[in-house]
Symmetry: C2
Subunit: 249 residues, 2 copies
Amino acid sequence: MVTIRDVAKHAGVSPATVSRVVNGLVGYSDETRERVETAVQSLSYETDYLARGLKTRQTSVIGLLAPMVSDALASQVMQGVEEEAQERGYAVMLGRTGAKSAYIAGYLRTLRTYRAAGVILISAVITPETRQLLGPNVPIISVAISDKSGSPSVAIDDEQAAYDATRHLLRLGHRRIGQLTGDPASIYVAQPRKRGYPRHDRSRLHPGDRHRQLLLRKRRRRRGRTAAAGARPHRDLRDERRDGRRRRQ
Amino acid sequence: MVTIRDVAKHAGVSPATVSRVVNGLVGYSDETRERVETAVQSLSYETDYLARGLKTRQTSVIGLLAPMVSDALASQVMQGVEEEAQERGYAVMLGRTGAKSAYIAGYLRTLRTYRAAGVILISAVITPETRQLLGPNVPIISVAISDKSGSPSVAIDDEQAAYDATRHLLRLGHRRIGQLTGDPASIYVAQPRKRGYPRHDRSRLHPGDRHRQLLLRKRRRRRGRTAAAGARPHRDLRDERRDGRRRRQ
DNA sequence: CTGAAAGCGCTTACAG
DNA sequence: CTGAAAGCGCTTACAG
């Protein structure tokens, strides 16, 4: 393996100077720089990240933890993270937060000992333990869950999203609307979603949709039997249903 | 950070001995082992992978290169690789072989300088350049493309698969069968797929399927106009079509 | 502008 | 069974 010493010898300078040039620091003449660069080229020298990381206490590794690697949302995020990381010279290390949260501790420990430059958490909550396992100096970013603990996060307003999605269906004239929030015990965003849904009331319906609603009502009557055979709506939807019925009377 | 020296001091032994115990080597008394383990526990010592890797010239990192992170097949493979890796104490480093093959060189270089223990290549061909960039000591495994260069690979027989898939359709009585192989210039498996398809001839049809074929033929006649309006079959399929027609005469 | 030196945290012959 | 020492390849005050 070609080391910084080899380059130094080849260029007739000290290893310290090679390091400075390679890292783009200050403190060398143009001529020196050129000699070093030539030597780097002809020996095809490559910095040893392990050695550098050991010395500087930091590598260009970033940790990327997802619930599942093959998760649909996570895949998309991972793809994006990977693209940007590679563009900026970072390497991405993969991990799963998975079902067993014991796993995540292991990954975090690994990332710390590889001196990761930062960690991106997809669909996972940053707990005090997370912080502690990673040490105080590793930045954490959470994606898809907005963090309350002070870390930056990239996420949507889940409550508002539930509200908007429901409104969309209401505008289309639908009245029997189910909501699948996920189990609040394990799906963190279930709560805000559950809050967003019932914020609706009749007065919020868009007035311009009257016509369309009439159409839909007719169509529904025609499909009467099919509709009646449908699944019973979720308990939380009772109010909306009653609301819809009253309008029809 | 807790180092091996701290543990050594705490346990009243030398760093060398701590290293031996931690790595499960031979050469220490039971009593020593216990003292070291206690010290490791109470200080919650964690091996520095960077330092170890620098010394041993090998880390527990394995590289995982896929065409796209969000690719459907790759996602599944990645998930599996990640599970097994984590079980065995390896960390997975991500990379994309992507459209630009120039990228892959960068990843391979990175993996070499992180002293990766091995590399898994999904849907990519192992070229001499691959080998060269990674150095002679890093094992490479290719997935989804069977390697001819001597590396182990996990893949299906694409030619046979194309043959089998075609046979399946033939058995169902279909005669107008298109094949989407992908562009042979960029999709490596297009060639074997293309070979597998036309290996069929009439005599290979499963005799037990006669009855079903008759049924299908009737049905097809009924839908005559629709069928006629369908897309023209691929040029490569002409023989199969003619074959099918003759049987009807 | 440049180099000698120390040290990051570990491992591993070597010697006892 | 155990320890002192050298060294992996780099960076960075320090001194000039």
